[in-house]
Structures are given as structure tokens and as C-alpha cells.
């Protein structure tokens, strides 16, 4: 296994464990003695068992994170730990369905309103269902049908093919980095309302494929599904830049830990590596790229390559063929999608925003909220002070003061800065954590993860006061 990949997956898995514990502990502390206590405590017991498992492996993990080569049995031990964790966590996340909902954060509405402007109408919303491991969007009608709210039998969590209404509110409520997925999901809503991607698919099938009449309907349906996902990806990219794909990559990596085989084609979503490729292509055209998020993308590609190597020749060829076809389709419809988005008058994220995000990242790593950024550099202000006479006039003094003005950042810049910081800092942070004494490892991890969330949330909150 690619050594960086194992380091990366391990730190992601530990982060997911911490996030689950934080949610459960918050539920317990806000309603102590409630009827949900036994469920929460049982779930926390599972989490504790996994904490212990991590601690049992802490020396090996420490060596792995330091870049040491592991022996075969050691590597196998870590892989088994990861596999067990993901399987348990997915079930525990599904079980959160049984706990009472928490209200979603107002910052989340602000985030969507900032991105979509007038197109975001909280009175006319689709239902967006997400968790750390998946995300879906439904119209309210189909959500009610799927959720089957009037049934009396308890659903089997393993059979649920969808996320949970506002589960984000409970699982990743406080993690603004996860909100990027909402831009993709809300893109579906815009697409359905404006009927943008379906005609593109119909046109493509008619002109470029021209299938026999017997297969035409199924092929058109397949391409409509694909077009819908591609449109949502491009919408999220349009609003957030290359960072838009990171929540998807994160989900893919998290779920991918559960299997040695590459994901099969679900006839709806392009492979995540394909999505990364076409997002990167359009980003490069616009002077940006996914390179800033190196560890996430490298791990995704390494994981995919290792898994592809396990396929037999026909399966590999089939995968490559699907991949090539999707990319051909993307190339055909990309310009039309971008033109449609342009007509919606959304605020486009461009390379200037990415350069701002890169600057904000430095402040974030210094643990300062990034709801604003200096309008002038320190050098400019220094030069202006140096230029003051011994007894400056009131106007001159105030002119110097004015140079300290900060401008509100955009929410999209904050989210991008957060992901850039996370990409650069994630492994170092986990190395530090596992370098602690055993009893301090998880408190250290939890404090760091909560700190990151709080700084980003505070940043969004600051912006909301300026821009509301």
C-alpha cells in the first residue's frame, strides 16, 4: 500500500471517530437523563472501544506517521483497524437517525445564500440529505415517499439507500468544510428547477450516439443522470472553485477504506477520479488547479490505482471505456453548462478568490479567524506611518488609520482557505497528536479538530454580520 495513503486514511478515520464522539457527547450534555441516554451511551461505548484499539496500535501509528516502513503484519494490523472502524462508523452514523434532530446552523443558510444569491430561497427548498459518508438531494415530495414517514416498522439502517433529512445538522453541523457538498446538492435543485442538464443529455445522445430505438430510452436516461451529476459538480466548482470537490473526495476515501475493490459504476455518478480530472481540467483552464489539495487528491489517485490493479483485464477495459465516454460527454457539455451558470448571475469563484484563500490560509494556520483580510499590506501601512510629519494633521493621521481597514472575505474563500490549510496541515497535526503520551492523544486530537471548526465557524459568522 502507498505509505502516504495509509497515513492519510488513518488520520481521516481517527478524525471521523472524534467527530462522532463530539456529536454524541454534545447530545448527552444538552439533555442529560433523557430517554436517548442509553442509546448514546451504547454508541459511545463502541467509540471508546475503537479509541482503545487506536491506542493499542499507537506506537505503530506513530512510526507510520513519522514515515517509517511497517512490517507486513504491522501494516495488516492497521488495515484491519481501518476496515473495522469504517464498518462500525457507517452503522453508527445510520443509527443517529434515532436521535432527535438538532436545528441546522444559521451559518449554513448564510453559506448557501452567499453562494446562490437570489436563486436560494429558503421557503422553496429541496431536501438535502448528507452525512460524513454520503449526500443526496430530493424534492420534498420524493423525500417523503422515500422516507416513508408513515410506516410503523423501524427501518433497517443497512437497507437505507439515502442519507437522513438534515443529518448534516447533527453530524457535521459544526464543520464548515463539509458544507461544500451542499453547493453540489443545491446545484441539483437549480438544475431541476431550470431544466438545464436534461436537454443537454438528450441532444448529446441524439447527435453523438444515435442509439437504436430499442435502447434509446435507457441510454438517454443514463446520460440524463450523468448530466445531472456533472452539472451539480460544475455548479459547485463555479461557486467554490476546485475545493468544491474535496468533500466528495473525502467521502470516497472514507467509504473506500471498507473495500479493496474500486467503486463500481452506479449509472449516475462519474467515478470520483474522473470528477477530479474534469474539475482539474476546467480549473487549469482558469489558472487554478487541484494541486493545492495535494494529499487528498494523491491519496484518491493512489487508492484508485491500487484497486484498479486488482481488476481482471476485461473489467479494467470496461472501466477505462466508461471513464473515456464520460470525459467525452463532459467535454461536449462543459461550455454549455458554464454558459447556463453565467446566465444565473451567480458569484463566480476565480483565481483571484483562490489567491485570497491562500493568503487567508496563513492566518488560519496562525489560529486567527478569517472573516476578513487586510486591505493593505503591513509594508504599505509602515511606509505611510514613516511618511507622517512630526506633527501630522488630523486628516493625515486618519488617512494612516484608514489603511488598517479590513475587507470582509467571501464565505467561499473561507471554505477554500480551510481546505488548503487542512491539506497542508492534516498529517503534521496527526503526527503531533500521536507523538503525545497515550492518555493525551485523543484529547489533543479532539481539541485540534474542534479548534479548526470553531475558527471557520467564527469566520463565517463574522462575514454574516457584514453581509447580511
Amino acid at each position: 500500500m502507498h505509505p502516504n495513503k495509509l497515513q492519510f486514511l488513518l488520520s481521516s478515520s481517527a478524525e471521523n471517530l472524534i467527530r462522532l464522539v463530539v456529536v454524541l457527547e454534545r447530545r448527552r450534555s444538552t439533555s442529560p437523563g433523557s430517554e436517548y441516554d442509553p442509546i448514546i451511551q451504547a454508541m459511545l461505548r463502541y467509540c471508546d472501544e475503537y479509541k482503545q484499539a487506536y491506542l493499542q496500535h499507537s506506537k505503530t501509528i506513530n512510526r507510520l506517521l513519522a514515515g517509517d516502513a511497517l512490517s507486513g503484519p504491522e501494516e495488516m494490523g492497521i488495515k484491519v483497524l481501518l476496515r473495522n472502524c469504517i464498518n462500525t462508523f457507517v452503522v453508527l452514523h445510520e443509527l443517529l437517525l434515532f436521535l432527535p434532530r438538532e436545528s441546522i446552523r444559521k451559518e449554513m443558510h448564510f453559506f448557501l445564500r452567499s453562494l446562490f444569491g437570489e436563486a436560494y430561497d429558503p421557503k422553496d427548498l429541496s431536501v438535502i440529505l448528507t452525512s460524513i459518508y454520503n449526500a443526496f438531494e430530493y424534492s420534498l415530495d420524493s423525500a417523503i415517499t422515500l422516507l416513508d414517514v408513515f410506516v410503523t416498522k423501524i427501518p433497517d439502517p443497512k437497507q437505507l439507500q439515502f442519507g437522513h433529512v438534515m443529518e448534516l445538522a447533527i453530524v457535521d453541523r459544526d464543520n464548515p468544510l463539509s458544507w461544500g457538498i451542499l453547493a453540489h446538492e443545491f446545484g441539483h435543485y437549480i438544475d431541476q428547477k431550470q431544466n438545464i442538464s436534461a436537454p443537454l443529455a438528450t441532444d448529446f445522445v441524439k447527435k453523438k450516439i444515435n442509439p437504436p430505438a430499442t435502447a434509446a430510452s435507457n441510454i438517454e436516461k443514463l446520460f440524463k443522470n450523468l448530466a445531472s451529476e456533472i452539472f451539480a459538480d460544475i455548479t459547485a466548482y463555479y461557486l467554490l472553485g476546485p475545493v468544491s470537490l474535496l468533500p466528495v473526495v473525502n467521502m470516497e476515501l472514507n467509504l473506500g477504506m471498507a473495500t479493496d475493490m474500486p467503486p463500481s459504476f452506479d449509472s449516475v455518478h462519474p467515478f470520483t477520479t474522473t470528477r477530479a480530472t474534469f474539475i482539474n481540467d476546467v480549473a487549469i483552464n482558469e489558472g487554478m488547479s487541484l494541486d493545492l489539495f495535494g494529499p487528498f487528491i494523491e491519496t484518491l489517485r493512489a487508492d484508485d490505482q491500487e484497486k484498479l490493479a486488482k481488476l481482471d483485464k476485461p473489467a479494467t477495459e470496461q472501466r477505462l471505456q466508461i471513464d473515456a465516454y464520460i470525459r467525452f460527454f463532459v467535454n461536449d457539455i462543459m461550455d454549455q453548462i458554464l454558459r447556463s451558470l453565467g446566465q444565473l448571475k451567480l458569484v463566480r469563484f476565480d483565481k483571484f478568490n483562490l489567491s485570497i484563500a491562500n493568503q487567508l490560509k496563513d492566518r488560519l494556520l496562525a489560529k486567527i479567524p478569517i472573516g476578513s483580510r487586510p486591505a493593505h499590506s503591513i509594508d504599505e501601512v509602515s511606509a505611510s506611518i514613516a511618511g507622517l510629519s512630526l506633527n501630522p494633521s488630523v486628516d493625515d493621521a486618519r488617512r494612516v488609520f484608514s489603511l488598517l481597514r479590513e475587507e470582509p472575505a467571501l464565505v467561499s474563500e473561507v471554505i477554500a482557505a480551510g481546505w488548503i490549510a487542512k491539506s497542508q496541515n492534516k498529517l503534521r497535526f496527526f503526527r503531533e497528536a500521536f507523538g503525545q503520551k497515550e492518555e493525551k492523544i485523543f484529547p489533543y486530537l479532539q481539541a485540534g479538530i474542534e479548534d479548526e471548526d470553531r475558527l471557520l465557524m467564527k469566520s463565517v459568522e463574522m462575514i454574516s454580520v457584514t453581509r447580511d
Binding site: I385, M462, V465
Partner: protein
């Protein structure tokens, strides 16, 4: 010695980050920087006392009560929060601040708000050298009419005081510090104090 405006400005851009005063966001420095202070704004979250569940505060025997008796209420951007006469709530500055090791800081109300009866701290207006985070307001309406408070209002000011020398153990390095790097209105953690 209290820093005057130009010294505050110089400290805000000090090339030595350990000496630098941080107050962010600083949207309107011309309005916010006074002769010897920097105005700060009201943030979004309020913590209001919920008394129904508790008969008293006895922080050492029931440590969680001190935290649980203040309940978080978030006020969206332009909506108001009405502080009624005699009411006490916690809130925080919108601004994140960082006080260098060789300075201390005081938070004080602004005179115009004070004349309406708004107190911004009950008794704890002193900020130690090394503190970083948002500053918690202890808001009290000493007037006779309810007061509409909105996030973003400039209700207080910070003044910075030069110390005779750097303390040996500043707030950020002191293990007993309970509120460093707090980013919102924070309930009392008095139960952490060992008497």
C-alpha cells in the same frame, strides 16, 4: 502607560508577531480607533440565564450548573436582541483579539451606550497579557427601558496598557487559564478553580 492611537496602530503592524496587537475584523479603523482605544462590536451569540431548573449556583458541589444555567441564543445578522431592564446576559465581541505579552488590556463601555444604561461587564473588564480570543461581554441593562442590541454595533472599546516588563507566565502559557482561545460568549468555568 496607556497606548495612544498611533502606538496602537504601530503595534497592529509590528513586524515582530509576538509584539503585534490583533483586532480583527477591523472594518472601519477611522471610526474604531479612538485617541487611546479601539472600538469593538457586538457579536452574534448571546447566552441567557435559564433559571427554572436550578435553585442556586454552588459551583464546587454542582460544577455543571454554572455552565448549564446559561443557554445559547444566536441572533441572525440584522435581527435585534432586546435586553430588558435588570437583565443580565453574556455576549461576545465580534472581533477576535490578541494581546501581546508586554501589554494588558481593558474593555470598557462606550459612553453613548453607558448613558442609556448599558454595562458591558459586570466586574471583569481586565484582559491579561497573552490572551487571545473573542472577549466575553457581561451585559446588563441598568436603564428603565428595553434596549435593542444588534450584532455589529460598536458598544465597547479596548484600551491597551504597557506593562513595566513582560510577565514570567503570561495568560496563554498559564495552565490554569480557563478562557484562552474562546471564540464566543463563554459561560463561567469557575468550577475549574481549585480554592
Amino acid at each position: 502607560m496607556i497606548l495612544q492611537d498611533i502606538e496602537i496602530v504601530k503595534r497592529m503592524i509590528d513586524p515582530d508577531e509576538n509584539k503585534r496587537i490583533v483586532v480583527t475584523p477591523l472594518w472601519d479603523p477611522v471610526k474604531q480607533i479612538g485617541p487611546s482605544s479601539v472600538d469593538v462590536r457586538l457579536g452574534v451569540g448571546f447566552k441567557i440565564p435559564v433559571t427554572s431548573y436550578f435553585h442556586s449556583i454552588d459551583p464546587y458541589n454542582e460544577p455543571s450548573v454554572a455552565e448549564r444555567y446559561m443557554s445559547l441564543l444566536e441572533v441572525p445578522g440584522l435581527e435585534g436582541f432586546y435586553l430588558h431592564p435588570g437583565e443580565f446576559v453574556l455576549a461576545s465581541t465580534l472581533e477576535y483579539i490578541r494581546v501581546p505579552h508586554d501589554l494588558s488590556c481593558r474593555i470598557e463601555g462606550r459612553s453613548s451606550w453607558g448613558r442609556l444604561g448599558l454595562l458591558v461587564h459586570a466586574t471583569a473588564g481586565f484582559i491579561d497579557p497573552g490572551y487571545a480570543g473573542n472577549v466575553t461581554f457581561e451585559l446588563y441593562n441598568a436603564g428603565r427601558l428595553p434596549m435593542a442590541l444588534k450584532p455589529g454595533l460598536r458598544i465597547a472599546q479596548l484600551c491597551f496598557i504597557k506593562l513595566a516588563g513582560e510577565p514570567l507566565v503570561p495568560y496563554d502559557l498559564r495552565p490554569e487559564s480557563k478562557y484562552n482561545r474562546v471564540l464566543s460568549a463563554e459561560s463561567s468555568r469557575i468550577w475549574r478553580d481549585k480554592q
